[in-house]
Subunit: 149 residues, 2 copies
Amino acid sequence: MNTRGQHLLAEYNGCDVEVLDDLKRIESLMNEAARAAQTKVVASVFQPFRPQGVSGVVVIEESHLSIHTWPEHGYASVDFFTCGRGMPIRAHEVIRDGLRAERSELMLVDRGLNLSGQSMQMRYHREELADPSTTITGLNDPVPIRPLM
Amino acid sequence: MNTRGQHLLAEYNGCDVEVLDDLKRIESLMNEAARAAQTKVVASVFQPFRPQGVSGVVVIEESHLSIHTWPEHGYASVDFFTCGRGMPIRAHEVIRDGLRAERSELMLVDRGLNLSGQSMQMRYHREELADPSTTITGLNDPVPIRPLM
């Protein structure tokens, strides 16, 4: 079996504060994201923070999807590790839209490569800005993307 | 509350194959690693793979520690997200020694920075080789470290 995996680290800023503090909504969003990425959910563990926020992990076959939210900063931190056919970018799109994030920052790391003595490699690090003026144009990909490396 | 976190991605090669395929041992090792990093464990979910291997997540307050193992390749993939006082490098040392890894590769990413419009930053990417000849010398840090970036 191939060890190759993709690990997507994602940060969401300018999010909907009410969503970030709603445990049931976050858990449902993360499960929806896992399904959108065509992965099979095995278990999910979610818990509230004190005084606010949510932390949770969806355990998937050979992979996982986690979230930690800080409503007081309109911020959420996500990571998604997938092997095989999982498509982490689909999960990102569901989470970004569900949190109504103004700004997303993504870092994709290839794992289990075993290439030239190196096992991990950063494929990209970029930001996406939600710009309402561009979504009106009806473009297929209305989110402006700027590389950070 | 500060959003700043540390995210350690770790890959272990040349591991003890029996340990990698032993669900109870892996679960116990991951819980020990979480405690060594001075984090508080909230829940843990571990499952076997078919035909072999283990996948699991330890959910910690505001953070998580995950592992996915491939005994057939002597390989394990780990990630550890911590906020606050957690010390991911301590968890790494426990896991590396518990798996008897010949080679470890570590990437540390700072999260939730919110600095100059950037939220994530890679702090280092390096490898550690277990070299039995150097451990005999009794040095405090017997593991040779080589930066990969």
